[in-house]
């Protein structure tokens, strides 16, 4: 066993990060394809309010996160009729949630560190109980995504033609936002609500720049996500830097690389 895996906290961090990188980046592939990066970012940030509220109410923060974020996803689906015109309603829901989050943190002043942990993630603080939540939710999200893969792909690329074929485009949109919500809720304690872009958007955006096929692109997305998140963990461990910062930096680096006009890298 490599030296760094001798510690339970490191093993937990590796398992949690692997699951979240795989699940989050694959959901993220569709987030980028559907241009819903803002909604996914907002859902992660709303998770902060959910976790703070749960701490205040004395329930499991994971449960609070999940309920709060899924609720917000439903509200987003209902208020933004058209996926393209959702910016304003997403922003309003985000703003209101962050206001609640500020209130919860204010009321629960006993532990401001917990709030920082949610905002920026605390991957080395993941315990076995959280791993179970993460594993169950990841499996559920990936199963859900696999189930709606074909209709969702068509509805994302040509919603009007899909609707004409009898595909329930609005229902799919709601289901997808719920998947993003669930994914965001479990990613937040690990990567941090402010840095979830690193998992949800970075790898998929880089992969889509390099690969014009859906199947191959999703494979590449998952690979890049594993690379940057596990690489980030190792970097963090050996250089003694915050894990989230390392993952964010690698995600940004890969994205930057994908934007370079290097023809040979594009398929």
């Amino acid at each position: 066993m490599p030296e760094f895996l001798q510690f339970a906290f490191m093993r937990n961090a590796f398992v949690a990060t692997t699951l979240i990188a795989l699940m989050g980046s694959l959901v993220g592939y569709f987030v980028v394809l559907r241009r819903q990066a803002f909604a996914s970012h907002a859902l992660s940030n709303i998770g902060f309010a959910g976790a703070a509220g749960a701490s205040l109410a004395g329930v499991d923060p994971m449960l609070g996160l999940l309920l709060f974020v899924m609720g917000a996803a439903l509200v987003m689906a209902w208020t933004g009729r058209d996926m393209g015109e959702r910016d304003v309603s997403v922003g309003m829901i985000l703003m209101f949630s962050l206001g609640l989050g500020a209130l919860f943190v204010n009321l629960y002043s006993a532990n401001a560190n917990a709030a920082i942990g949610i905002l920026f993630g605390s991957v080395f603080g993941i315990d076995a109980g959280q791993i179970r939540w993460i594993a169950i939710t990841s499996a559920g999200v990936l199963l859900g995504l696999g189930a709606i893969f074909r209709p969702l792909r068509f509805a994302s690329l040509n919603p009007q033609a899909a609707r004409a074929q009898g595909i329930p485009v609005a229902t799919l949109d709601t289901l997808f936002l719920l998947l993003v919500g669930a994914a965001a809720a479990i990613a937040v304690p690990v990567i941090g609500s402010l840095l979830s872009f690193a998992i949800f958007v970075g790898p998929a955006a880089a992969a889509q720049a390099w690969c014009g096929r859906v199947g191959l692109g999703m494979g590449l997305t998952a690979l890049l996500a594993l690379l940057e998140s596990l690489g980030g963990l190792l970097l963090s461990y050996y250089a003694n830097l915050p894990a989230s910062s390392c993952i964010a930096a690698l995600s940004f680096g890969l994205y930057g690389l994908s934007r370079l006009p290097i023809r040979a890298l594009r398929a």
């Binding site: 241009r35 696999g146 189930a147 709606i148 893969f149 074909r150 209709p151 792909r153 068509f154 509805a155 994302s156 690329l157 040509n158 009007q160 033609a161 899909a162 609707r163 004409a164 074929q165 009898g166 595909i167 889509q208 720049a209 690969c211 014009g212 096929r213 859906v214």
Partner: protein, 254 residues
Amino acid sequence: MIEARGLAAGKGAALAFKHVSFQIAPGSFTALVGPNGAGKTTLFETILGLIPPRHGEIQVLGGTPSRMRRQIAYVPQALALAHDDALIGREFVSAAFQAHRLGLPLPGSRRRARAAVDAALDTVGAKDLATRRLSTLSGGQRQRLLIAQALVNRPRLVLLDEPLSQLDPAARDWIVAVAADLTRRGIAVIFSTHDINPVLRVCDRVLYLAQGRGRIGSVDEIICDETLSELYATPVRVIRDGGRRFVFADAPAA
């Protein structure tokens, strides 16, 4: 193929058209003509069963529109394919293949999808676009991919909503030829346009919508002074020029 009697439909409080009756035969080319807001898109949505008729009845392929939808393909009006869209043509087209099915496509299904996509790309003369990124395509090339996408599930009826609106004359001829070719394969085509001239030579019938009314017939029956004056309820003059037709309200100088 389609039988509509006394049809009235509209999306808002008002009706876009009423008392519209027509029949569409298999393998026929129907030009759906009318000014902006005449109800062309509304009529397509009624044929697709997306909005219920307010009056009258419509049968599509022998059944109700919503039951027959899977055998109809709709090519939407001016789809804004995002400019930086990174997918290649083949992936865009194949997204429609059996898209109502749940679960990931198995290898057998992927093989069938490949064959269907190749056939559809071939039909619209877009084989060379299979590996091109959407972001690098012209409007005419995108329109061809949209039609190819509509064909992958082997529809019996294809509805094209103003496919010529953003194209130059050469690209228009291409798209009209592609649509006419579909009718030779037995697919009925309804092709909406506000200018009849590009489709004059290929269309069997004209369904003209204006002022909430509709009339169907041959080009000569519809694009003439009498019919159009009646439809617009104002004197209209049709001028022929070398096989093309120009419609003027009242004074030819207008």
